[in-house]
């Protein structure tokens, strides 16, 4: 089956020595996993503190703690980033954890999404009478899983990270105890997530069978040194792993959970799922496919990823247009965004990867901001999400309507917002690879989806009252109780707005970082 033997599995030297202890413990480099540790310990400490304190702590305490923890995690990446820039990428702990610009960048993106979601969650929990630290604990733990996933240099560690990430999010989706749709969302997400995780795990097993290693560096070296006569096992492994990743990033046809779950889950959690979870999923996808299999098996996986990208773009934008529930609409639009990022993956080039990273950063701000507005408009009960509920918002809350307009325009890719450049870089990357048909599809769907964002804007600004007679002079009245904007949520929206616009007007610093992050995307020592 294999021409050259034996596979160059990276083995810890002690194991070769028969006189050594049977179980070798690799050197633990704590600093390499510092961001993940900060998040994890922050979450556990929060749980401990609230268990020990007799009086319930005020709700702002949990949110502040979470924001501080995520900020600390971002700070922890800075010296590491410096180290990577000076000394180059490395992998630690027997080659299982990769320390490079890529993992640090994605860590930053995940932490930003945690900060935004935590700020949104604060007012949300008070409004819904759901005060509890568990939300924040779960979010921090899941973020630590995402960070592990982003820096995993070994398929097993990657799977571990994915499960840490997912299990916490399953629970978060179901946390709104009084809304059955929330519980339904959690259960659905759990069952389907488990189903797709099985695919991923099976894919990992098949890959191990074909290459004799779960270490990404090991796999890459093995494939570079050996030619597989019969590569069926490996290709099946690739296909199954793509199913698992495709599910996590909600790519068509593995997307069907997304609209139901985003709609059912508490809205700040939807924001976190759409931003943070997706970033982690793409990190895994990029590292496994582009870096590990990029040099050798690009011809095989690229068409599959491209097909998922095209399907996601088309289905996402077309289905989004016919939605009448804004949360669902955003879910479908996030599917079409996933299609764009997948295009960056399909380019399988440095430019493609840095474009995907830039997209993830911009997308985090845009989508967290959009779901942030939706959180507020949902009002008590988190149920007012139909397009009708946005009618006349420009009169009732002009500022909020304006901010939402900016987020929607950014998502549709209007110049001077980050959304435009994100799409632009991705399309540029695939054009560089000569994939013109994909670029054409991307531009066409961008045009289609512009329409759906405009529908929401029209509802906010122009639409007359529901069911009014034609030609009626009566202006649209905003229905339902007044919209309150808690300070924390206002801060989150402000941050997201600044991020969205700044990345569109002065993208220079961010693109430099993504370029450096890409350059350091290497596996192995």
């Amino acid at each position: 089956m294999i021409i050259q033997v034996p596979p160059t599995v990276p083995v810890v030297p002690e194991q070769l020595d028969p006189s050594a202890v049977p179980l070798a413990v690799p050197e633990i480099v704590w600093s390499a996993v510092a961001p993940a540790l900060v998040l994890m310990i922050g979450g556990i400490l929060l749980l401990t503190v609230v268990s020990l304190v007799r009086k319930p702590l005020p709700s702002w305490f949990h949110a502040t703690w979470t924001v501080a923890t995520a900020t600390a995690a971002i700070c922890a990446t800075v010296p590491l980033w410096q180290r990577v820039q000076d000394n180059g990428a490395s992998s630690e702990m027997a080659g299982t954890v990769g320390l490079d610009g890529f993992s640090l960048f994605v860590t930053g993106v995940i932490c930003v999404s945690v900060i935004l979601a935590a700020l949104l969650l604060e007012g949300y929990l008070r409004r819904e009478d759901l005060v509890g630290p568990e939300w924040y604990v779960l979010m921090l733990l899941s973020a630590s899983g995402g960070v592990v996933m982003a820096s995993a240099n070994d398929l097993i560690v990657l799977f571990l990270g994915l499960e840490i990430l997912s299990v916490a999010v399953y629970v978060l989706a179901a946390m709104h105890s009084r809304r059955t749709s929330s519980q339904e969302a959690g259960l659905k997400y759990f069952v389907l997530g488990a189903f797709s995780s099985a695919f991923l795990l099976y894919g990992i097993a098949l890959t191990y069978g074909a290459t004799g290693s779960t270490n990404l560096a090991g796999i890459q070296t093995f494939l570079a040194d050996n030619v597989l006569v019969d590569n069926g096992l490996l290709l099946a492994g690739l296909a199954f792993m793509l199913v698992g990743f495709g599910f996590k990033v909600a790519a068509v046809p593995f997307h069907m959970w997304a609209p139901d779950v985003y709609q059912g889950a508490p809205t700040p959690v939807s924001a976190y799922m759409a931003a943070g979870v997706k970033a982690a999923g793409f990190a895994g996808l990029l590292r496994v496919f582009v870096t590990t299999f990029g040099p050798t098996y690009r011809e095989e996986w690229m068409p599959m990823v491209a097909a998922l990208a095209v399907l996601s773009l088309v289905v996402g934008s077309v289905m989004a247009i016919i939605q009448t529930n804004v949360k669902r609409m955003l879910a479908y639009s996030s599917i079409s965004h996933a299609g764009f990022i997948l295009l960056g993956v399909a380019a399988a080039s440095d430019a493609g990867t840095s474009a995907a990273l830039f997209y993830l950063l911009v997308y985090t701000f845009m989508v967290a901001g959009s779901f942030g507005v939706v959180t507020l408009i949902g009002r008590k009960g988190d149920g007012r999400h139909s397009l009708e509920d946005y009618r006349g918002l420009s009169r009732a809350r002009p500022g909020l309507a304006l901010v939402f307009t900016v987020f929607l325009l950014a998502q549709s890719g209007i110049p001077l917002t980050g959304g435009f450049l994100a799409k632009f870089y991705v399309i540029g990357a695939i054009v560089d690879e000569g994939l013109y048909a994909l670029a054409a599809v991307a531009m066409l769907t961008a045009v289609i989806s512009a329409f759906l964002y405009l529908r929401v804007i029209v509802a906010m600004y122009f639409a007359g009252p529901a069911g009014a007679e034609e030609g009626s002079e009566e202006p649209a009245e905003f229905a339902g109780p007044p919209v309150r904007i808690p300070a924390a949520a206002g801060l989150a929206l402000g941050l997201a707005l600044v991020g969205t616009l700044a990345l569109g007007i002065v993208p220079g610093p961010a693109t430099e970082v993504t370029r450096d992050a890409t350059a350091e995307l290497t596996v192995g020592n």
Partner: protein, 660 residues
């Protein structure tokens, strides 16, 4: 001076921000004054830029001001920068000049409107975007302005959004323009890929020998597609007549003088590319000509005063494309400038008439208004003579140059010229019809009881029309006792100023030798294309024919509509009234780009609205119908989809397997 170039778009932008923040507090008329002053300031800065540029030697009249690098991406970088050259400054001058006058006019026209300050917010944003469009030193900035003016156009068309027809017209403009935008985007990408830059100066530098003829043709056709959307040419012109639903100052500024000319500006800006583009130029010329003809025929049979002017605008834009396609960029720009003045004048004049006539727009109820509106009448007559091509008014000179350029355009030239002359005849005819029906004719028709159409189909059509015209009516009604009155000074001053310009603006480019060819000299560094001048003899003959044609058109129409000899029905064919059924054909048969897409959207919107009214059941049903098969809500179905996807991927890899 060049370093204050950014002030030109920044001033209206500042006005926009100011009005956005404090507009409601400023109220009526202070918000309008602020809007007018910022645009006037921008005009002053443009004047300084003009003097500044003029002081430079002829071949150094290109000033670039880069504010900062916007997109740094390896070999591809885009600056936020402005380009000042004769073409740009010419555009800036007439945009800011006319915009300032129209702002002033709007102070009076919009007085008492509920959303007074909002109107100026949009109008200022429009001016800022339009200036960005012409001043940007690269395609991406122009695109930004292009989208900006588009957005403002939709917003202003739908300004009286409580009315269904207005909101729909805005959507129609949006959909057709998106088709054009697609051309712009793909064209920009092609330019970037083949020339490695999207900066105008670099494009124009690298184009010679740097691009294959086929690629240049493709790029130019894509940009022309964009232009047909924005500048309302065949096949995408259908939105402009409907856009008349917006307030009249908007029609004057956006849908006559400025935004709709951006397609011509874009092609002129890229003129070195057009030179390489081979047969794409013929496409541009013929499409322009065909549009001009169809629109002129349609204008003959319209009864809504603004619709006549709308079709007339489309027709005149067709002339400009004819000039551009014939390589006569100076003639195109010249006609763009004169047209901006006389068409803005005509629209504002029609606005004054509409305001004086209790917002009635049907010309069949006008007549003999010269008795009541002396200033409006005089200025309108100037505009009428200008557009009809009567010397010495501005339109004659520029139209004459366009027609001469067509004559000179290869073997098909004389045919193009002949069609162009027919269009000139039609133009003189329909404009005379408009003027005669409105200001002359001796009968004050609104005083007569309304005749009820006898034919039921006609009655239905009349009713439909009445409904379409409703937006501007605002609950006013034209009664037989109504006495029209001249509007106040904010509205008449712009009319007089524009009237003066419509008379004399032709002086900037008279065809009497090199010395008086100011515009051609001025634009020369921008337009590298040297056009062989026709001999004076031919020019004189062509001009004489044009004058004769104009006089004939005016005389015939005068006889029919002012002296009431001969019957109008023989001329106003139903086919003309419906613009040769092009719009209707899109809707009914082709399911084509404009109407069908728009209709689909409109239907869907009403479905949604209805759905909400009829309760959740209807909504569920609607959603259910669309997604019934797969998105059922059942976990098993979703799992099946995941498994199905996995199977498809597996089948794919099995086919790619390198099995032994």
């Amino acid at each position: 001076m060049a370093d204050v170039l950014w002030l030109i778009p920044a001033l209206p932008l500042a006005g926009f921000v100011l009005l956005m923040a404090f507009g409601r507090r400023l109220g009526d008329p202070l918000a309008g004054v602020v809007g007018t002053l910022t645009v006037a300031g921008s005009f002053v800065v443009s004047l300084f830029a003009l003097f500044d540029l003029n002081s430079l030697p002829t071949d150094e009249r290109v000033v670039q001001q880069t504010l900062f690098t916007w997109i740094p991406a390896g070999g591809f970088s885009v600056d936020i920068g402005f380009l000042s050259d004769p073409l740009t400054i010419t555009m800036c001058l007439f945009i800011t000049g006319i915009a300032a006058l129209i702002h002033l006019y709007s102070i009076g026209y919009m007085a008492g409107d509920e959303n007074y300050s909002k109107f100026f917010v949009y109008l200022n944003l429009f001016v800022a975007s339009m200036l960005l469009l012409v001043l940007g030193d690269n395609l991406l900035l122009t695109f930004l302005g292009w989208e900006g003016v588009g957005a403002c156009s939709y917003l202003l068309i739908s300004f009286w959004f409580t009315d269904e027809a207005n909101a729909s017209a805005g959507k129609k403009a949006f959909v057709t323009n998106r088709i054009g935008d697609f051309g712009f985007m793909v064209g920009t990408f092609l330019v970037w890929m083949t020339l490695g830059s999207i900066n105008y100066l670099e494009i124009n530098e690298r184009v010679h020998g740097g691009i294959a003829a086929g690629t240049a043709t493709a790029i130019v056709l894509l940009f022309f597609l964009a232009a047909t959307g924005k500048s309302a040419q065949l096949p995408l012109f259908v939105w402009l007549p409907d856009a008349m639903a917006g307030p009249t100052p908007v029609s004057a500024l956006i849908h006559a003088a400025t935004m709709v000319t951006s397609g011509i500006f874009l092609l002129t800006r890229l003129n070195p590319l057009l030179e390489e583009a081979g047969w794409a130029n013929d496409v541009i010329a013929w499409v322009g000509l065909a549009t001009a003809l169809v629109a002129a025929l349609a204008a003959v049979a319209q009864n809504d005063i603004k619709k006549v002017l709308a079709y007339s605008t489309i027709s005149q834009l067709g002339y400009m494309f004819l000039a551009v396609g014939s390589g006569a960029f100076v003639a195109g720009v010249f006609h763009m400038i004169t047209h901006a003045f006389f068409k803005a004048l005509l629209f504002l004049g029609s606005g004054a008439v509409i305001a004086a006539m209790a917002h009635e727009q049907d010309m069949r109820r006008y007549g003999n208004l010269r008795k009541y509106l002396p200033i409006t009448t005089v200025t309108f007559v100037v505009g009428w003579l200008a557009i009809s091509g009567v010397p010495p008014f501005a339109g004659f000179w520029s139209k004459d140059e366009v027609l001469a350029a067509a004559w000179d355009n290869g073997p098909a030239g004389p045919v193009m010229w002949a069609i162009g002359v027919v269009i000139a005849l039609l133009t003189a005819f329909y404009m005379t019809r408009l003027v005669a029906m409105t200001f002359f004719g001796g009968k004050e028709r609104w005083r007569e009881p309304e005749e009820l159409p006898t034919d039921p189909a006609e009655a239905a059509a009349a009713e439909h029309e009445a409904y379409e015209d409703a937006p501007d009516a605002h609950g006013h009604h034209l009664t037989p006792e109504h006495t029209p009155r001249e509007p106040n000074w904010t509205m008449t001053v712009p009319l007089v100023v524009l009237g003066v310009f419509a008379t004399v603006i032709g002086l900037i480019n008279l065809p009497f030798g090199e010395k008086v060819d100011y515009l051609a000299d001025w634009l020369d560094p921008t337009l590298a294309h040297a056009h062989e001048a026709l001999s004076a003899g031919i020019l004189a003959v062509l001009a004489a024919v044009a004058i004769v044609v104009a006089v004939v058109g005016i005389a015939v129409a005068w006889r029919v509509y002012a002296q009431h000899k001969g019957s109008p029905e023989k001329i106003e064919l139903p086919a003309f009234e419906h613009a040769l059924y092009i719009d209707d054909t899109y809707a009914a048969v082709v399911g084509g780009p404009g109407e069908a897409a728009f209709d689909g959207v409109a239907t869907f919107d009403s479905e949604v609205v209805d759905g909400a009214v009829n309760g959740v059941g209807r909504l569920t049903q609607l959603t259910g119908r669309a997604v019934s098969v797969f998105q059922s809500g059942f976990v098993r179905a979703y799992a099946l989809a995941v498994a199905g996807g996995a199977v498809v991927l597996l089948v794919f890899v099995v086919m790619r397997m390198s099995s032994s």
